[in-house]
Symmetry: C2
Amino acid sequence: MMIYLNNTPLDEVLGGFLKELGDYRFNSIETISVIDGLDRVLAENIFAKRSVPHYHSSAMDGYQVRAEDTKTANIDNPIFLSMEKIKYCDTGEPIEPQFDSVIKIEDVHKRDNGIEIIGGATKWQNIRPIGEDITAHDLLFTTGRKLQPMDIAALIASGIYQIKVFKKPKVAIIPTGDEIIPWNKEPMIGEIPDSNSQLFANMVKKWGGEPTVYPITPDNFDLLEKVVKNAWEENDLILVNAGSSAGSEDYTSKVINHLGKVYYHGVAIKPGKPAIFGKIGKKPVIGVPGYPVSAFVVMEELVKKVFLYLKGEKVPERKKVEGKLTKPVNSDLKFQEYVRVKVGKIGKEYVITPLARGAALMSTVTQGDGFLIIPQNSEGYRAGEMVQVELFTEKDFDNTFVSIGSHDLALDILATHLAPKFNLSSAHVGSLGGIMAVKKGETHFAGIHLLDPQTGQYNISYVKKYLKGTGAVLIHLAKRTQGLMVAKGNPLNIKSIKDLKGRTIANRQKGAGTRVLLDYLMEKENIKPEEVEGYTREFFTHLAVAQEVKSGRADAAMGIYAATKGMDLHFVPLYQESYDLIVSPEFYYSPNFKSILEVLSSEKFRREVEELGGYNLDKSGEIIFVEGEKN
Amino acid sequence: MMIYLNNTPLDEVLGGFLKELGDYRFNSIETISVIDGLDRVLAENIFAKRSVPHYHSSAMDGYQVRAEDTKTANIDNPIFLSMEKIKYCDTGEPIEPQFDSVIKIEDVHKRDNGIEIIGGATKWQNIRPIGEDITAHDLLFTTGRKLQPMDIAALIASGIYQIKVFKKPKVAIIPTGDEIIPWNKEPMIGEIPDSNSQLFANMVKKWGGEPTVYPITPDNFDLLEKVVKNAWEENDLILVNAGSSAGSEDYTSKVINHLGKVYYHGVAIKPGKPAIFGKIGKKPVIGVPGYPVSAFVVMEELVKKVFLYLKGEKVPERKKVEGKLTKPVNSDLKFQEYVRVKVGKIGKEYVITPLARGAALMSTVTQGDGFLIIPQNSEGYRAGEMVQVELFTEKDFDNTFVSIGSHDLALDILATHLAPKFNLSSAHVGSLGGIMAVKKGETHFAGIHLLDPQTGQYNISYVKKYLKGTGAVLIHLAKRTQGLMVAKGNPLNIKSIKDLKGRTIANRQKGAGTRVLLDYLMEKENIKPEEVEGYTREFFTHLAVAQEVKSGRADAAMGIYAATKGMDLHFVPLYQESYDLIVSPEFYYSPNFKSILEVLSSEKFRREVEELGGYNLDKSGEIIFVEGEKN
């Protein structure tokens, strides 16, 4: 059954492929020293070689006696036992054959040449008999036990020095593609550093496997076949990276079909569709897609399950949280979709914010917290719906501040000052988006910089207008200079807003404070959006528009001075604005907010932000305005 | 504030000690290659050095075009674009400067010298712009981030090759005591192999530390002081094992007080009381008790918390389950007690069985699943109460069979046949205890061998009597030979029950089938318990009584032949009995029970048990009797 770039449901691919693998298992065995056994899986049943304890021993510091000699002792009739009738012992010391009981040192009065006792001892009291813990020949552990620290101690105590464990399964990782270069080489245009192989290798390590990354193989059938053959001999599972979509130079499925057989090509998941599942001899050979997030999903949802199945282990369930979705998520009916989301905990409720969907966006995994999995045949979810998220981070949400609003580099510096005690989880949706997030209780705070064209005043009128009844505290963060970013040396001689006419710009998204400012200034100069090329193409951060100017794609962009500095661009200052934080009253009065206020008013923080250029933080941390609380 | 072997509550010790440690932290830093970064903790904030992608690239396999050239195309008016106006590109290939859009290969009709399209392209469509994923200078990660596979891939992609991480904290483990010998040396009487150091080393590894086990130091103040001094210079945290109770040769607290200061000696926990918390210079030096379970509790509840605090990490919470307690647990009001328990899942409910309490019993940790923590000032819990357990295993309770009843070696063999797919969690409480466990729904099945003195028949009358209304299926496991275990060569010439008069025996506990048989045979011979020495001293397994005979502590013991074999004892056969399993009806009809039946009737299993000697398994797996179900 060979299916070419089909769209087979995930469960069908997984179930069918495991069936095709038949009785193949990762079951090579090696003998190791027990002290190297941590987290290794036993490949044998182990019976104790020695009893623990292996001699009758004292359970206390005290005196060994014969119980018979002590029978008549009581508080009124103390008994004196001479040195020949007793023997001192520390805890763990052996009981000598003539004794059968131990009296605790606390219950004994030391006398010259002996002891006095005021109570009789019973036979075997305070004695640990041979085998009390483990008896020789006891079954200690069965095959499949993943050894923990106390297991290893018990093995040692019962005389086991060598153990048979399953070898760590060997996984070949074969990067392919003419465009791929070694991970630590500086890439030219068109070259892509091989970061995927390290992603795979580290995932395999986390699953308990032993990865080997093979040299990068160019897009060439014969070369790839040679490497796959070679890897097949040396490994238990073979992963070929990319060459798995239906493009012109995808040799992976051809090579597998030549050496063995492809069973599935194309899984109904997104991202991750163009995965290949085949077999050469008895060993699985899997083609993993090239886009990092596609690869991540295929590794997590398919390769990991195949790997653990062949290892005889259960797939651990991801931790789940349920929370309110902040934005609608539409889904293609054809696929089971893996939407990466950020999770925030506001008060006692979880808030789920979907991230961008692109299969290439590694940042959606590194900045995300989990998957919102949308089943095939589902159209998705509405904003405000309660949804369940499967977490792939172990973040402590109680110590994570959520910041949804305008982007400013000062927030990044704030994050570095809050770490490692607190995390800052930021989403950049612009100033107006931030206000709405505060209103809906979806964020702890929001950075905003919104000019009121009527009054020339920043932020306050917006808070009054939108957060009446919700309540909010407006805290000043910084004065900062907005202006036009242009190429180094300003070759087009752009000096003011007027000069944008007929030029190409990189614009910020609707609702961003910078966009509001640009629109305000353009209107003042009577420039229509149609007169500026690129006006409708939107970016979400200052650095992103700066990057557009740097690459020559745009002639100019509105933004803050600090974003131009690292890029070596020219800056035309135009306006000084106030960048402030809106804080929900609940959060403002919570003990955690103190940590933020402390940073805002610290000299170190102010200096670091001002060093970015174009900032003034003299008054950061001051309360500007308080909107009455919800009642 | 120096407290000598006090009984300070755990929270007070922990809180007070962390306070004494002041600003001391594990904060040494090292620079490593990013590809060695898995699970390491960043000691710096990292900003991207390179945008990802670092050039405008095609998001699809297709043709680069100028959007302007395609404007008028629609299904009725296809447009032909000649080779000069297009360029083929695979996914990821760079967009050439003259183009601004990509048309998917699926939407193109290849013609000679060009392509035909039936729809216009919009600017930037299917193009991944520079920095779409990560923009140069973006804050990628802050200090304290524990790097995961995708983090490392993102670091590589954005041009980061070296990273600063916190060094793994170095922990010294100093074993002390004249009786301690290296872990892999065969111990003489009075010698104890050093298994604790491996326990500590592996726990430290699990916490992310780097343990060093020092040579064993004898009980000598000067020698210990020298080793501690040395370890102090080379490590971030020092653990001294044992020498921490109040016995005669405990130098640990003296040495700490000489080089620094002891703050706490004695914690109100059980086991674990005699722990020592001190400081030399700024570094913590902790005396951990010698009994393995005391040590385990102190490591888990105190040392781990100190370690993670100094590392700047939160202590992960243990998973918890709530279940019904099968036996009462009484607790000393003076201590917070850590009772090790087994957890079973019967149907949908958890059943909690407390294990023996001894501080030396490693098996209570290796065979246990979690702690039942009884607070100070609590008297404990009644049988049947719902209690919460903090798990220290990751066992899959859905695939764990609970067997509470009589002990037989065949159950151990059964366990090895069920592994690794299923675990068998056995508790040995004797046949009658097993029947009661079935009645109360606390076990999946119970092994029993109970002679009815009236009829000479085994088991059936007991099931009828005790499980009327509950229902039960009685499955045959084995015929086995009971008899007297005596020393090799039978020096006392013990040939029958009569010969026990005046001898010392090792007896089984009340309710054990073997005990019932002994009592039956003694009564038949008119021997009274008082006429047999050791009659009241009870053991819970065949191997345990065999061990008593082997050590010369007892002259004889009733038991099965198989238990004498490994011990090289002489066996006097007396009686053939039937060892059967009672299975609850619910479990009998569950799909999992099939796996047990399959083993019972397999040739391999029968052969392995019969090879133990004294067994006949011709009919194992057959139903003997069915007691009507509960209605």
